[in-house]
Amino acid sequence: MKFGIVVFPGSNCDIDCYHALRDSLNQDVDYIWHDTEGLKEYDCIILPGGFSYGDYLRCGAVAPFSKVMDEIRVHAEKGKLLVGICNGFQILTEMGLLPGALVRNKNLKFICNTVPLKVENIDTPFTNRCDLGQVINIPIAHGEGNYVVEKDELAKMKENRQILFTYQENPNGSVLDIAGICNEGKNVLGMMPHPERACEELLGNREGRLVFESIISFLEGGWKSE
C-alpha cells in the first residue's frame, strides 16, 4: 500500500501529511514533486494544504496545470483514491474532479480553529471507520472555505450521498454547512478541515486518524461498498 503526497510550490501541509502517514500511521509514503513525469503507481494520492502558486488568481487555480496533474487526473479516473485537503480541495474543484467551488469566508477572515464536524455518510473509502452522525473535532485553517455549488448539482450530490462532513457550527458560510464532499464515484475526497493535524496524542487530538484509518481499511480490503 503506497501513499503519495503532491508538493507544489507554496504547499505547506505536505510535511504534516507525510509525518501523519509515515510516523503516526506507519504507512509507506512518497513526496511527489509537481513537475514529475512518469508518475509511479500509488494507491492513494493526497493534494495537501497550503497556498499552491501563491494562490495567485484564485486559490488552487494554477496547480491543475502542473506537469504531474494530467497523470493525477488519470489516477482518479481509474477509480483510485485521491484526497484534497484545504488547498487540495480547492485544486480538485478547479480541476472539475469535484463539483462546486470555494470562495472567500463569509466574514472575510482567515479562520484557524478546531471545529466539530458531523460525519454524514460512512459508506465511503474515507469514512468507513466512523459512525454515522459521529462528531469529530478537526482543525480548520482557511480564508476561502465557503463552499458554493449550483442548486441542481447540490441536489444530485445529496441524492448520491456525496456530502461526507458538515460543520456543526458553520464557520465560513458554506452551503448546507458543507465541510467535505466526494465525487460521484466515491474515490475523490475534498475537505477543508485538516485531519493530518490531528493524528497523535502529543498534538492533543487523534480524531483525524479516522479519515486515514478508513482509507487504510479500504485499501486493505477490510471494507467494501454495500
Binding site: V62, K106, L108, G173
Partner: protein, 80 residues
Amino acid sequence: MKAKVYVTLKKSIADPQGNAIGKALNKIGYDNVEDVRIGKLIETELGEVTKETAEKQLKEMCEKLLANTVIEQYSFEVLG
C-alpha cells in the same frame, strides 16, 4: 495587441468584499450606493496577432484559467 479581461463573481454568488466596500461607501456619505461587486482586471499584451486570433485566444484563456466559470463570469476587450 493589447487586451483587457474582466472577471467578476456571478450574481448568484455572494460577494462579502463588495458588501463591505458598499457599506463603507454608505458610511462616508454616498447613501445612494446600493450594490458593489468586486472583480479582477487582467491586462495582457498578446504580441502580434490578428484581432480574431486574439479574441479566440482570450475566450480560451478565460475558460481554461482566467475565470472559474462555476462562480465567475468574464468579458474582454481587445484594444488593438
